[in-house]
Protein backbone atom coordinates (compact mmCIF):
# COMPACT_ATOMS: atom_id res chain seq x y z
CA UNK A 1 0.00 0.00 0.00
CA UNK A 2 1.34 3.38 -0.91
CA UNK A 3 2.17 5.94 1.72
CA UNK A 4 -0.67 8.24 0.58
CA UNK A 5 -3.15 5.38 0.98
CA UNK A 6 -1.85 4.72 4.49
CA UNK A 7 -2.12 8.39 5.26
CA UNK A 8 -5.62 8.56 3.76
CA UNK A 9 -6.76 5.60 5.80
CA UNK A 10 -5.43 6.98 9.07
CA UNK A 11 -6.70 10.49 8.54
CA UNK A 12 -10.16 9.29 7.47
CA UNK A 13 -10.52 6.94 10.44
CA UNK A 14 -9.38 9.62 12.87
CA UNK A 15 -11.44 12.44 11.47
CA UNK A 16 -14.58 10.33 11.09
CA UNK A 17 -14.36 9.13 14.68
CA UNK A 18 -13.58 12.60 15.99
CA UNK A 19 -16.50 14.02 14.06
CA UNK A 20 -18.86 11.27 15.25
CA UNK A 21 -17.85 11.65 18.88
CA UNK A 22 -18.07 15.40 18.72
CA UNK A 23 -21.44 15.07 16.96
CA UNK A 24 -22.77 12.93 19.81
CA UNK A 25 -21.36 15.27 22.43
CA UNK A 26 -22.77 18.21 20.57
CA UNK A 27 -26.17 16.55 20.36
CA UNK A 28 -26.19 15.76 24.04
CA UNK A 29 -25.19 19.27 25.04
CA UNK A 30 -27.72 20.95 22.79
CA UNK A 31 -30.39 18.56 24.01
CA UNK A 32 -29.49 19.39 27.56
CA UNK A 33 -29.53 23.13 26.95
CA UNK A 34 -32.84 22.92 25.09
CA UNK A 35 -34.38 20.93 27.91
CA UNK A 36 -33.19 23.43 30.50
CA UNK A 37 -34.63 26.19 28.38
CA UNK A 38 -37.99 24.35 28.21
CA UNK A 39 -37.92 23.65 31.93
CA UNK A 40 -37.26 27.33 32.59
CA UNK A 41 -40.23 28.23 30.35
CA UNK A 42 -42.44 25.75 32.18
CA UNK A 43 -41.37 27.04 35.61
CA UNK A 44 -42.22 30.53 34.46
CA UNK A 45 -45.65 29.36 33.37
CA UNK A 46 -46.24 27.67 36.73
CA UNK A 47 -45.24 30.92 38.41
CA UNK A 48 -47.67 32.78 36.14
CA UNK A 49 -50.46 30.36 37.11
CA UNK A 50 -49.68 30.92 40.81
CA UNK A 51 -49.67 34.70 40.29
CA UNK A 52 -52.97 34.47 38.45
CA UNK A 53 -54.53 32.38 41.20
CA UNK A 54 -53.24 34.73 43.88
CA UNK A 55 -54.75 37.69 42.11
CA UNK A 56 -58.01 36.23 40.88
CA UNK A 57 -58.58 33.40 43.36
CA UNK A 58 -59.80 31.03 40.67
CA UNK A 59 -58.17 28.78 38.12
CA UNK A 60 -57.25 30.28 34.80
CA UNK A 61 -59.09 29.17 31.68
CA UNK A 62 -57.59 26.99 29.07
CA UNK A 63 -57.40 29.79 26.49
CA UNK A 64 -55.05 31.77 28.63
CA UNK A 65 -52.25 29.37 27.80
CA UNK A 66 -51.63 29.69 24.09
CA UNK A 67 -50.31 26.39 22.68
CA UNK A 68 -49.62 24.71 25.96
CA UNK A 69 -51.98 22.17 27.40
CA UNK A 70 -52.73 22.82 31.04
CA UNK A 71 -54.71 20.51 33.28
CA UNK A 72 -55.78 21.06 36.87
CA UNK A 73 -56.59 18.10 39.00
CA UNK A 74 -57.94 18.35 42.46
CA UNK A 75 -55.85 16.44 44.90
CA UNK A 76 -55.61 15.72 48.55
CA UNK A 77 -51.88 15.63 48.61
CA UNK A 78 -50.65 18.36 50.84
CA UNK A 79 -47.10 18.43 49.64
CA UNK A 80 -45.72 17.63 46.18
CA UNK A 81 -42.28 18.33 44.76
CA UNK A 82 -42.43 20.06 41.42
CA UNK A 83 -41.19 17.66 38.73
CA UNK A 84 -40.37 17.88 35.06
CA UNK A 85 -40.83 14.95 32.68
CA UNK A 86 -41.09 13.97 29.01
CA UNK A 87 -44.54 13.15 27.77
CA UNK A 88 -46.38 13.01 24.45
CA UNK A 89 -47.88 16.29 23.43
CA UNK A 90 -51.19 16.12 21.60
CA UNK A 91 -51.29 19.17 19.46
CA UNK A 92 -54.81 20.52 19.48
CA UNK A 93 -54.41 21.88 15.95
CA UNK A 94 -52.55 19.13 14.15
CA UNK A 95 -54.26 16.29 15.92
CA UNK A 96 -51.23 14.18 16.36
CA UNK A 97 -48.86 13.19 19.10
CA UNK A 98 -45.56 15.04 19.28
CA UNK A 99 -42.76 14.89 21.74
CA UNK A 100 -43.46 17.16 24.66
CA UNK A 101 -42.15 18.32 28.01
CA UNK A 102 -44.32 18.64 31.04
CA UNK A 103 -44.21 20.04 34.53
CA UNK A 104 -46.35 19.03 37.48
CA UNK A 105 -46.71 21.31 40.46
CA UNK A 106 -49.01 21.76 43.39
CA UNK A 107 -50.95 24.98 43.70
CA UNK A 108 -53.59 26.03 46.12
CA UNK A 109 -56.69 27.83 45.02
CA UNK A 110 -58.66 29.14 47.97
CA UNK A 111 -57.08 26.53 50.18
CA UNK A 112 -57.92 23.66 47.84
CA UNK A 113 -54.75 21.94 46.52
CA UNK A 114 -54.61 21.35 42.76
CA UNK A 115 -52.08 19.41 40.81
CA UNK A 116 -51.31 21.50 37.78
CA UNK A 117 -49.66 19.89 34.75
CA UNK A 118 -48.42 21.97 31.84
CA UNK A 119 -47.32 20.19 28.65
CA UNK A 120 -45.31 22.12 26.11
CA UNK A 121 -44.42 20.90 22.60
CA UNK A 122 -40.80 20.02 22.05
CA UNK A 123 -41.25 20.16 18.28
CA UNK A 124 -39.21 23.32 17.85
CA UNK A 125 -36.20 22.11 19.76
CA UNK A 126 -36.36 18.72 18.05
CA UNK A 127 -36.35 20.54 14.76
CA UNK A 128 -33.37 22.59 15.81
CA UNK A 129 -31.48 19.46 16.81
CA UNK A 130 -32.29 17.82 13.49
CA UNK A 131 -31.02 20.85 11.59
CA UNK A 132 -27.86 20.89 13.66
CA UNK A 133 -27.32 17.15 13.08
CA UNK A 134 -27.89 17.53 9.37
CA UNK A 135 -25.39 20.38 9.20
CA UNK A 136 -22.89 18.34 11.17
CA UNK A 137 -23.33 15.35 8.85
CA UNK A 138 -23.06 17.50 5.76
CA UNK A 139 -19.91 19.10 7.14
CA UNK A 140 -18.46 15.67 7.88
CA UNK A 141 -19.16 14.51 4.34
CA UNK A 142 -17.69 17.66 2.81
CA UNK A 143 -14.63 17.41 5.03
CA UNK A 144 -14.11 13.77 4.05
CA UNK A 145 -14.40 14.62 0.37
CA UNK A 146 -11.97 17.47 0.76
CA UNK A 147 -9.55 15.24 2.63
CA UNK A 148 -9.64 12.49 0.02
CA UNK A 149 -9.19 14.96 -2.80
CA UNK A 150 -6.40 16.75 -0.98
CA UNK A 151 -4.63 13.54 -0.24
CA UNK A 152 -4.98 12.34 -3.76
CA UNK A 153 -3.84 15.46 -5.54
CA UNK A 154 -1.91 17.62 -3.15
CA UNK A 155 -0.14 14.84 -1.30
CA UNK A 156 0.66 12.91 -4.46
CA UNK A 157 2.07 16.07 -5.95
CA UNK A 158 4.08 16.59 -2.82
CA UNK A 159 5.52 13.06 -3.04
CA UNK A 160 6.32 13.30 -6.71
CA UNK A 161 10.00 14.26 -6.16
CA UNK A 162 10.33 11.23 -3.92
CA UNK A 163 9.07 8.85 -6.60
CA UNK A 164 11.31 10.54 -9.13
CA UNK A 165 14.34 9.91 -6.90
CA UNK A 166 13.19 6.34 -6.33
CA UNK A 167 12.94 5.70 -10.08
CA UNK A 168 16.45 7.00 -10.59
CA UNK A 169 17.85 4.91 -7.76
CA UNK A 170 16.18 1.84 -9.30
CA UNK A 171 17.74 2.58 -12.67
CA UNK A 172 21.15 3.34 -11.18
CA UNK A 173 24.04 1.36 -12.61
CA UNK A 174 27.57 1.83 -11.28
CA UNK A 175 29.14 1.27 -14.64
CA UNK A 176 26.98 4.00 -16.14
CA UNK A 177 28.50 7.45 -16.06
CA UNK A 178 25.11 9.20 -16.33
CA UNK A 179 24.58 11.20 -13.16
CA UNK A 180 21.49 11.10 -10.97
CA UNK A 181 19.94 14.55 -11.38
CA UNK A 182 18.88 16.43 -8.28
CA UNK A 183 15.20 17.13 -7.88
CA UNK A 184 13.83 20.61 -7.32
CA UNK A 185 11.33 20.39 -4.49
CA UNK A 186 9.99 22.81 -1.94
CA UNK A 187 10.12 20.05 0.67
CA UNK A 188 13.39 20.20 2.60
CA UNK A 189 13.43 16.46 3.33
CA UNK A 190 13.18 15.62 -0.36
CA UNK A 191 15.84 18.14 -1.24
CA UNK A 192 18.11 16.55 1.36
CA UNK A 193 17.29 13.07 0.11
CA UNK A 194 17.90 14.03 -3.47
CA UNK A 195 21.23 15.67 -2.63
CA UNK A 196 22.28 12.69 -0.54
CA UNK A 197 21.37 10.21 -3.29
CA UNK A 198 23.14 12.29 -5.93
CA UNK A 199 26.25 12.58 -3.78
CA UNK A 200 26.24 8.90 -2.91
CA UNK A 201 25.80 7.81 -6.51
CA UNK A 202 28.53 10.08 -7.77
CA UNK A 203 30.86 8.83 -5.05
CA UNK A 204 30.08 5.22 -5.92
CA UNK A 205 30.53 5.91 -9.62
CA UNK A 206 33.81 7.72 -9.03
CA UNK A 207 35.15 4.93 -6.87
CA UNK A 208 34.09 2.33 -9.40
CA UNK A 209 35.70 4.33 -12.21
CA UNK A 210 38.79 4.68 -10.05
CA UNK A 211 38.91 0.94 -9.54
CA UNK A 212 38.58 0.33 -13.25
CA UNK A 213 41.24 2.90 -14.06
CA UNK A 214 43.44 1.21 -11.51
CA UNK A 215 42.90 -2.19 -13.13
CA UNK A 216 43.63 -0.70 -16.52
CA UNK A 217 46.76 1.11 -15.38
CA UNK A 218 48.01 -1.89 -13.42
CA UNK A 219 47.57 -4.10 -16.46
CA UNK A 220 49.32 -1.59 -18.69
CA UNK A 221 52.16 -1.13 -16.26
CA UNK A 222 52.72 -4.89 -16.27
CA UNK A 223 53.15 -4.95 -20.03
CA UNK A 224 56.59 -3.33 -20.01
CA UNK A 225 58.17 -5.72 -17.47
CA UNK A 226 56.56 -8.57 -19.39
CA UNK A 227 58.12 -7.23 -22.57
CA UNK A 228 61.47 -7.19 -20.77
CA UNK A 229 61.05 -10.82 -19.67
CA UNK A 230 60.00 -11.99 -23.13
CA UNK A 231 62.74 -10.15 -24.95
CA UNK A 232 65.41 -11.26 -22.46
CA UNK A 233 64.30 -14.84 -23.01
CA UNK A 234 64.44 -14.29 -26.77
CA UNK A 235 68.01 -13.08 -26.28
CA UNK A 236 68.92 -15.87 -23.90
CA UNK A 237 68.06 -18.67 -26.31
CA UNK A 238 70.51 -17.23 -28.83
CA UNK A 239 73.22 -18.64 -26.61
CA UNK A 240 73.73 -22.11 -27.96
CA UNK A 241 76.04 -23.09 -25.13
CA UNK A 242 73.08 -23.58 -22.82
CA UNK A 243 72.31 -27.12 -21.69
CA UNK A 244 69.09 -28.93 -22.71
CA UNK A 245 67.94 -28.67 -19.12
CA UNK A 246 68.34 -24.90 -19.17
CA UNK A 247 66.43 -24.73 -22.43
CA UNK A 248 63.63 -26.72 -20.83
CA UNK A 249 63.47 -24.20 -18.00
CA UNK A 250 63.42 -21.33 -20.47
CA UNK A 251 60.50 -22.99 -22.23
CA UNK A 252 58.59 -23.02 -18.93
CA UNK A 253 59.37 -19.36 -18.31
CA UNK A 254 58.17 -18.61 -21.83
CA UNK A 255 54.84 -20.26 -21.25
CA UNK A 256 54.40 -18.60 -17.84
CA UNK A 257 55.16 -15.20 -19.37
CA UNK A 258 52.76 -15.97 -22.20
CA UNK A 259 50.02 -16.89 -19.77
CA UNK A 260 50.60 -13.76 -17.72
CA UNK A 261 50.41 -11.68 -20.83
CA UNK A 262 47.16 -13.32 -21.96
CA UNK A 263 45.70 -12.91 -18.48
CA UNK A 264 46.57 -9.24 -18.56
CA UNK A 265 45.07 -8.79 -21.97
CA UNK A 266 41.89 -10.54 -20.85
CA UNK A 267 41.61 -8.28 -17.81
CA UNK A 268 42.10 -5.24 -19.98
CA UNK A 269 39.46 -6.48 -22.38
CA UNK A 270 37.03 -6.93 -19.50
CA UNK A 271 37.68 -3.37 -18.35
CA UNK A 272 37.17 -2.11 -21.88
CA UNK A 273 33.87 -3.95 -22.23
CA UNK A 274 32.73 -2.68 -18.83
CA UNK A 275 33.64 0.86 -19.79
CA UNK A 276 31.98 0.43 -23.15
CA UNK A 277 35.16 1.64 -24.79
CA UNK A 278 34.68 -0.50 -27.86
CA UNK A 279 31.69 1.26 -29.29
CA UNK A 280 32.43 0.82 -32.98
CA UNK A 281 29.02 -0.79 -33.55
CA UNK A 282 28.34 -1.99 -37.07
CA UNK A 283 26.03 -4.43 -38.84
CA UNK A 284 27.61 -7.88 -38.92
CA UNK A 285 26.63 -11.08 -40.62
CA UNK A 286 27.17 -13.81 -38.06
CA UNK A 287 27.11 -16.58 -40.61
CA UNK A 288 30.09 -15.10 -42.45
CA UNK A 289 31.99 -14.58 -39.20
CA UNK A 290 31.35 -18.15 -38.04
CA UNK A 291 32.46 -19.57 -41.39
CA UNK A 292 35.63 -17.43 -41.32
CA UNK A 293 36.43 -18.59 -37.80
CA UNK A 294 35.78 -22.22 -38.74
CA UNK A 295 38.39 -21.77 -41.46
CA UNK A 296 40.87 -20.40 -38.92
CA UNK A 297 40.26 -23.22 -36.48
CA UNK A 298 40.33 -25.81 -39.23
CA UNK A 299 43.71 -27.20 -38.23
CA UNK A 300 42.74 -27.63 -34.59
CA UNK A 301 39.48 -29.30 -35.55
CA UNK A 302 41.27 -31.73 -37.85
CA UNK A 303 43.99 -32.42 -35.33
CA UNK A 304 41.47 -33.79 -32.83
CA UNK A 305 39.52 -35.43 -35.65
CA UNK A 306 36.42 -33.52 -34.62
CA UNK A 307 33.31 -33.59 -36.83
CA UNK A 308 32.08 -30.07 -37.38
CA UNK A 309 28.44 -29.71 -38.27
CA UNK A 310 26.69 -26.45 -39.05
CA UNK A 311 23.18 -25.29 -39.70
CA UNK A 312 23.49 -21.60 -40.38
CA UNK A 313 21.06 -18.99 -41.65
CA UNK A 314 21.98 -15.40 -42.46
CA UNK A 315 21.68 -13.42 -39.28
CA UNK A 316 22.61 -9.77 -38.92
CA UNK A 317 23.43 -8.23 -35.58
CA UNK A 318 24.68 -4.79 -34.57
CA UNK A 319 27.80 -4.95 -32.47
CA UNK A 320 31.48 -4.21 -32.41
CA UNK A 321 33.29 -6.42 -34.91
CA UNK A 322 36.15 -6.91 -32.51
CA UNK A 323 33.92 -8.08 -29.65
CA UNK A 324 31.85 -10.41 -31.80
CA UNK A 325 35.13 -11.80 -33.08
CA UNK A 326 36.25 -12.41 -29.50
CA UNK A 327 32.89 -14.00 -28.66
CA UNK A 328 32.91 -16.45 -31.60
CA UNK A 329 36.59 -17.08 -31.08
CA UNK A 330 36.04 -18.05 -27.44
CA UNK A 331 33.05 -20.23 -28.30
CA UNK A 332 35.08 -22.04 -30.94
CA UNK A 333 38.23 -22.46 -28.91
CA UNK A 334 36.27 -23.73 -25.88
CA UNK A 335 34.35 -26.18 -28.04
CA UNK A 336 37.62 -27.51 -29.43
CA UNK A 337 39.75 -27.34 -26.33
CA UNK A 338 37.29 -29.09 -24.06
CA UNK A 339 36.40 -31.62 -26.70
CA UNK A 340 37.63 -35.18 -26.90
CA UNK A 341 39.33 -36.83 -29.83
CA UNK A 342 36.87 -37.93 -32.54
CA UNK A 343 34.26 -35.68 -30.91
CA UNK A 344 31.59 -33.48 -32.44
CA UNK A 345 30.84 -29.78 -32.65
CA UNK A 346 27.42 -28.60 -33.77
CA UNK A 347 26.82 -24.97 -34.56
CA UNK A 348 23.28 -23.76 -35.13
CA UNK A 349 22.20 -20.32 -36.13
CA UNK A 350 18.44 -19.96 -36.36
CA UNK A 351 16.11 -16.99 -35.99
CA UNK A 352 17.71 -15.09 -33.16
CA UNK A 353 19.55 -17.99 -31.54
CA UNK A 354 23.12 -19.13 -31.82
CA UNK A 355 24.07 -22.47 -30.32
CA UNK A 356 27.50 -24.06 -29.98
CA UNK A 357 27.32 -27.69 -28.86
CA UNK A 358 30.24 -29.95 -28.28
CA UNK A 359 31.05 -33.32 -26.86
CA UNK A 360 33.54 -33.48 -24.03
CA UNK A 361 33.53 -34.20 -20.33
CA UNK A 362 30.57 -36.42 -19.51
CA UNK A 363 29.58 -34.37 -16.45
CA UNK A 364 27.75 -31.06 -16.86
CA UNK A 365 29.47 -27.83 -15.82
CA UNK A 366 28.29 -25.78 -12.88
CA UNK A 367 25.78 -23.47 -14.56
CA UNK A 368 25.94 -20.83 -11.86
CA UNK A 369 29.69 -20.58 -11.61
CA UNK A 370 31.02 -20.92 -15.14
CA UNK A 371 30.51 -17.26 -16.07
CA UNK A 372 32.29 -16.07 -12.92
CA UNK A 373 35.74 -14.57 -13.33
CA UNK A 374 38.54 -17.04 -12.70
CA UNK A 375 36.23 -20.03 -12.59
CA UNK A 376 38.03 -22.94 -14.16
CA UNK A 377 37.07 -26.49 -14.88
CA UNK A 378 39.09 -29.33 -13.44
CA UNK A 379 41.23 -29.81 -16.50
CA UNK A 380 41.14 -26.31 -17.91
CA UNK A 381 44.43 -24.56 -18.44
CA UNK A 382 43.02 -21.32 -19.76
CA UNK A 383 42.95 -17.96 -18.01
CA UNK A 384 39.54 -18.54 -16.45
CA UNK A 385 38.34 -15.31 -17.99
CA UNK A 386 37.10 -16.53 -21.36
CA UNK A 387 33.51 -17.17 -20.31
CA UNK A 388 33.40 -14.03 -18.15
CA UNK A 389 34.43 -12.06 -21.23
CA UNK A 390 31.72 -13.74 -23.30
CA UNK A 391 29.16 -12.99 -20.61
CA UNK A 392 30.20 -9.34 -20.48
CA UNK A 393 30.06 -8.97 -24.24
CA UNK A 394 26.54 -10.44 -24.22
CA UNK A 395 25.46 -8.21 -21.35
CA UNK A 396 26.78 -5.17 -23.16
CA UNK A 397 24.54 -5.85 -26.15
CA UNK A 398 21.61 -7.28 -24.16
CA UNK A 399 22.18 -10.74 -25.57
CA UNK A 400 21.31 -13.61 -23.31
CA UNK A 401 23.98 -16.28 -22.89
CA UNK A 402 23.24 -19.53 -21.13
CA UNK A 403 24.67 -23.00 -20.70
CA UNK A 404 22.85 -26.32 -21.01
CA UNK A 405 23.93 -29.88 -20.79
CA UNK A 406 21.90 -31.94 -23.16
CA UNK A 407 22.41 -35.62 -24.06
CA UNK A 408 26.13 -35.56 -23.39
CA UNK A 409 26.61 -32.29 -25.27
CA UNK A 410 27.75 -29.04 -23.65
CA UNK A 411 25.68 -26.32 -25.22
CA UNK A 412 26.25 -22.56 -25.11
CA UNK A 413 23.23 -20.67 -26.27
CA UNK A 414 23.25 -17.01 -27.21
CA UNK A 415 19.90 -15.33 -27.68
CA UNK A 416 20.02 -12.06 -29.59
CA UNK A 417 17.52 -9.39 -28.68
Amino acid sequence: MRLSAHYNKASIVISVSVLLISGIVYYLIINHIARQQLDADLSEEVAEVIDYVNQNHHLPRQVDFDEDITTFVKTNVSSFATRFFDTPYNSPREKKAEAGRAVSALIKVNGQPYLVTIVESRENTEYLIQIISAITLALTAVLLCIMVVTNRFVLNGLWKPFYHILQQVKRFNVADTAKIDTVASSVDEFKDLSDAVAKMSSRVTTEYQGLKTFTENASHEMMTPLAVITSKLDMLIQDEKLSPDQFAQITDIYSAAGRLSRLNQSLLLLVKIDNNLLNDTEKLNLKTIILDKAQQFNEMVHNKNITLDYQLVDLEISASRYLVDVLINNLFSNAIRHNKNDGRIEIRLTGNLMCFQNTGDSAPLDQNAIFERFYKGRLSDGTGLGLAIMKNICTLYNFDISYRFNQGMHCFLVKFS
Binding site: H220, E221, M223, T224, L226, A227, V228, I229, T230, S231, K232, L233, D234, M235, I237, Q238, E240, L242, P244, F247, A248, I250, T251, Y254, S255, A257, G258, S261, R262, Q265, L268, L278, D280, Q296, E299, M300, N303, Y322, V326, N329, S333, I336, R337, D381, G382, T383
Partner: protein, 223 residues
Protein backbone atom coordinates in the same frame (compact mmCIF):
# COMPACT_ATOMS: atom_id res chain seq x y z
CA UNK B 1 69.92 -0.88 -42.28
CA UNK B 2 70.27 2.07 -39.92
CA UNK B 3 67.90 2.02 -37.06
CA UNK B 4 66.93 4.40 -34.26
CA UNK B 5 65.37 2.94 -31.15
CA UNK B 6 63.51 5.33 -28.88
CA UNK B 7 62.65 3.47 -25.68
CA UNK B 8 62.80 4.62 -22.05
CA UNK B 9 62.95 1.20 -20.39
CA UNK B 10 66.68 0.57 -20.14
CA UNK B 11 66.78 -3.23 -20.15
CA UNK B 12 64.33 -3.45 -23.02
CA UNK B 13 66.38 -0.90 -24.95
CA UNK B 14 69.58 -2.87 -24.43
CA UNK B 15 68.02 -6.17 -25.44
CA UNK B 16 66.47 -4.80 -28.60
CA UNK B 17 69.73 -3.03 -29.48
CA UNK B 18 71.67 -6.26 -29.08
CA UNK B 19 69.20 -8.27 -31.15
CA UNK B 20 69.15 -5.78 -33.99
CA UNK B 21 72.86 -5.07 -34.14
CA UNK B 22 74.35 -7.46 -36.65
CA UNK B 23 76.28 -7.46 -39.87
CA UNK B 24 74.97 -4.68 -42.08
CA UNK B 25 72.76 -3.17 -39.43
CA UNK B 26 73.41 -0.36 -37.00
CA UNK B 27 71.10 0.32 -34.08
CA UNK B 28 71.27 3.66 -32.30
CA UNK B 29 69.29 4.27 -29.15
CA UNK B 30 67.93 7.08 -27.04
CA UNK B 31 65.58 7.19 -24.11
CA UNK B 32 63.64 10.41 -24.39
CA UNK B 33 61.84 12.64 -26.81
CA UNK B 34 64.35 15.48 -26.72
CA UNK B 35 67.39 13.39 -27.66
CA UNK B 36 65.31 11.57 -30.24
CA UNK B 37 64.39 14.79 -32.03
CA UNK B 38 68.02 15.97 -31.88
CA UNK B 39 69.18 12.72 -33.44
CA UNK B 40 66.51 12.70 -36.10
CA UNK B 41 67.31 16.30 -36.99
CA UNK B 42 70.98 15.47 -37.59
CA UNK B 43 71.01 11.93 -38.97
CA UNK B 44 69.06 9.93 -41.46
CA UNK B 45 67.67 6.58 -40.48
CA UNK B 46 66.01 3.80 -42.41
CA UNK B 47 63.72 2.83 -39.59
CA UNK B 48 62.63 4.22 -36.26
CA UNK B 49 61.33 2.08 -33.41
CA UNK B 50 59.25 4.38 -31.30
CA UNK B 51 57.87 3.76 -27.82
CA UNK B 52 54.75 5.89 -27.42
CA UNK B 53 55.03 6.23 -23.64
CA UNK B 54 58.09 8.43 -23.10
CA UNK B 55 58.94 10.27 -19.88
CA UNK B 56 59.01 13.72 -21.49
CA UNK B 57 55.81 13.67 -23.53
CA UNK B 58 54.16 11.09 -25.68
CA UNK B 59 55.83 9.71 -28.75
CA UNK B 60 53.13 11.00 -31.05
CA UNK B 61 54.90 14.34 -31.08
CA UNK B 62 57.90 12.66 -32.71
CA UNK B 63 55.57 11.44 -35.46
CA UNK B 64 54.31 15.01 -35.80
CA UNK B 65 57.88 16.21 -36.11
CA UNK B 66 58.70 13.61 -38.78
CA UNK B 67 55.58 14.48 -40.71
CA UNK B 68 56.12 18.23 -40.52
CA UNK B 69 59.72 17.94 -41.73
CA UNK B 70 58.67 15.67 -44.59
CA UNK B 71 60.83 12.72 -43.53
CA UNK B 72 60.32 9.31 -44.94
CA UNK B 73 61.62 6.94 -42.26
CA UNK B 74 59.74 3.74 -41.58
CA UNK B 75 58.23 4.03 -38.14
CA UNK B 76 57.17 1.10 -36.00
CA UNK B 77 55.32 2.10 -32.84
CA UNK B 78 55.86 0.12 -29.64
CA UNK B 79 53.09 0.63 -27.12
CA UNK B 80 52.05 -0.79 -23.78
CA UNK B 81 48.47 0.07 -24.71
CA UNK B 82 46.55 -2.29 -26.93
CA UNK B 83 44.23 0.51 -27.88
CA UNK B 84 42.57 0.81 -31.24
CA UNK B 85 42.40 4.60 -30.90
CA UNK B 86 46.15 4.88 -30.29
CA UNK B 87 46.79 2.57 -33.19
CA UNK B 88 44.63 4.58 -35.58
CA UNK B 89 46.13 7.83 -34.33
CA UNK B 90 49.65 6.51 -34.82
CA UNK B 91 48.97 5.18 -38.29
CA UNK B 92 47.27 8.43 -39.28
CA UNK B 93 50.30 10.36 -38.13
CA UNK B 94 52.45 8.40 -40.54
CA UNK B 95 53.59 5.36 -38.57
CA UNK B 96 53.82 2.19 -40.64
CA UNK B 97 52.91 -0.40 -38.02
CA UNK B 98 52.02 -0.78 -34.38
CA UNK B 99 53.16 -3.51 -31.99
CA UNK B 100 51.89 -4.02 -28.45
CA UNK B 101 54.00 -5.01 -25.46
CA UNK B 102 54.90 -7.71 -24.63
CA UNK B 103 56.29 -8.85 -27.97
CA UNK B 104 58.87 -11.32 -29.17
CA UNK B 105 62.04 -9.84 -30.63
CA UNK B 106 61.58 -12.07 -33.66
CA UNK B 107 58.14 -10.60 -34.23
CA UNK B 108 59.48 -7.07 -33.85
CA UNK B 109 62.19 -7.74 -36.37
CA UNK B 110 59.87 -9.45 -38.85
CA UNK B 111 57.46 -6.50 -38.71
CA UNK B 112 60.23 -3.94 -39.02
CA UNK B 113 61.75 -5.68 -42.01
CA UNK B 114 58.33 -6.04 -43.62
CA UNK B 115 57.64 -2.30 -43.46
CA UNK B 116 61.18 -1.47 -44.48
CA UNK B 117 60.85 -3.73 -47.51
CA UNK B 118 57.50 -2.27 -48.44
CA UNK B 119 58.95 1.23 -48.44
CA UNK B 120 62.34 0.65 -49.99
CA UNK B 121 61.76 -1.97 -52.68
CA UNK B 122 59.06 -0.30 -54.62
CA UNK B 123 60.54 -1.24 -57.99
CA UNK B 124 61.92 -4.59 -57.04
CA UNK B 125 59.56 -6.85 -55.21
CA UNK B 126 61.80 -9.86 -55.09
CA UNK B 127 63.46 -10.95 -51.90
CA UNK B 128 66.45 -13.17 -52.35
CA UNK B 129 68.00 -15.34 -49.70
CA UNK B 130 70.64 -17.73 -50.98
CA UNK B 131 68.89 -19.89 -53.55
CA UNK B 132 65.44 -18.86 -52.39
CA UNK B 133 63.71 -16.09 -54.32
CA UNK B 134 60.42 -14.71 -53.10
CA UNK B 135 58.13 -12.54 -55.20
CA UNK B 136 56.52 -10.45 -52.48
CA UNK B 137 53.70 -9.16 -54.65
CA UNK B 138 52.75 -12.43 -56.30
CA UNK B 139 53.48 -14.35 -53.08
CA UNK B 140 55.34 -17.02 -55.05
CA UNK B 141 58.59 -18.70 -54.05
CA UNK B 142 61.19 -20.21 -56.32
CA UNK B 143 64.16 -22.25 -55.19
CA UNK B 144 66.91 -22.68 -57.79
CA UNK B 145 64.35 -21.35 -60.32
CA UNK B 146 61.95 -24.14 -59.47
CA UNK B 147 58.60 -23.09 -58.14
CA UNK B 148 57.93 -24.16 -54.57
CA UNK B 149 54.23 -24.45 -53.70
CA UNK B 150 53.59 -23.33 -50.14
CA UNK B 151 50.49 -22.98 -48.00
CA UNK B 152 49.75 -19.54 -46.61
CA UNK B 153 51.13 -20.43 -43.20
CA UNK B 154 54.30 -21.93 -44.68
CA UNK B 155 54.83 -18.81 -46.79
CA UNK B 156 54.35 -16.55 -43.73
CA UNK B 157 56.73 -18.72 -41.77
CA UNK B 158 59.39 -18.61 -44.47
CA UNK B 159 59.32 -14.80 -44.55
CA UNK B 160 59.41 -14.73 -40.77
CA UNK B 161 62.44 -16.99 -40.60
CA UNK B 162 64.28 -15.10 -43.33
CA UNK B 163 63.75 -11.87 -41.41
CA UNK B 164 65.20 -13.57 -38.34
CA UNK B 165 67.90 -15.48 -40.14
CA UNK B 166 70.69 -16.77 -37.95
CA UNK B 167 68.62 -16.31 -34.79
CA UNK B 168 67.00 -18.89 -32.62
CA UNK B 169 63.27 -18.27 -32.73
CA UNK B 170 61.18 -19.72 -29.93
CA UNK B 171 58.09 -21.80 -30.62
CA UNK B 172 56.07 -19.29 -28.59
CA UNK B 173 57.11 -16.53 -30.93
CA UNK B 174 56.23 -18.61 -33.99
CA UNK B 175 52.85 -19.55 -32.54
CA UNK B 176 52.02 -15.94 -31.81
CA UNK B 177 53.09 -14.91 -35.26
CA UNK B 178 51.02 -17.54 -37.03
CA UNK B 179 47.87 -17.50 -34.92
CA UNK B 180 47.94 -14.22 -33.07
CA UNK B 181 47.94 -14.05 -29.30
CA UNK B 182 44.17 -14.25 -28.90
CA UNK B 183 44.32 -17.72 -30.38
CA UNK B 184 45.52 -19.07 -27.03
CA UNK B 185 45.71 -22.71 -28.19
CA UNK B 186 48.08 -24.78 -26.15
CA UNK B 187 48.49 -27.55 -28.66
CA UNK B 188 49.57 -25.03 -31.28
CA UNK B 189 53.16 -26.23 -30.82
CA UNK B 190 52.17 -29.49 -32.55
CA UNK B 191 50.98 -27.47 -35.53
CA UNK B 192 54.23 -25.55 -35.65
CA UNK B 193 56.07 -28.79 -35.75
CA UNK B 194 53.91 -30.00 -38.63
CA UNK B 195 54.27 -26.77 -40.57
CA UNK B 196 58.02 -26.63 -40.09
CA UNK B 197 58.39 -30.27 -41.04
CA UNK B 198 56.52 -29.64 -44.29
CA UNK B 199 58.42 -26.46 -45.12
CA UNK B 200 61.71 -28.12 -44.33
CA UNK B 201 60.86 -31.07 -46.55
CA UNK B 202 59.91 -28.84 -49.49
CA UNK B 203 63.10 -26.81 -49.13
CA UNK B 204 65.27 -29.92 -48.91
CA UNK B 205 63.59 -31.38 -52.00
CA UNK B 206 64.32 -28.31 -54.12
CA UNK B 207 67.64 -27.12 -52.76
CA UNK B 208 69.13 -30.25 -51.27
CA UNK B 209 69.96 -28.20 -48.19
CA UNK B 210 68.44 -28.19 -44.73
CA UNK B 211 67.95 -24.57 -43.64
CA UNK B 212 66.43 -25.42 -40.26
CA UNK B 213 68.13 -26.40 -37.06
CA UNK B 214 66.11 -27.59 -34.07
CA UNK B 215 67.24 -26.10 -30.78
CA UNK B 216 66.42 -28.45 -27.89
CA UNK B 217 62.66 -28.21 -27.93
CA UNK B 218 62.74 -24.45 -27.40
CA UNK B 219 62.70 -23.31 -30.98
CA UNK B 220 64.25 -23.30 -34.43
CA UNK B 221 67.05 -21.56 -36.21
CA UNK B 222 67.02 -20.73 -39.90
CA UNK B 223 70.31 -20.22 -41.58
Amino acid sequence: MKLLLIEDEQSLRETIEKYFTEEGSICETCSDRKTAIQKIAVYNYDCILLDIGLPDGDGFSILDYLKSTGRNECVLIISARNSLDDKIKGLNLGADDYITKPFHLAELKARLIAIFRRKSFDSNNTLIYNEIAIDLLGRTVTVNDKIMVLTRKEYDMLLYFIANKGKVVSKNAIAEHLWGDDMDMLDSFDFIYTHIKNLRKKLVELSGKDFFATIYGVGYKFA
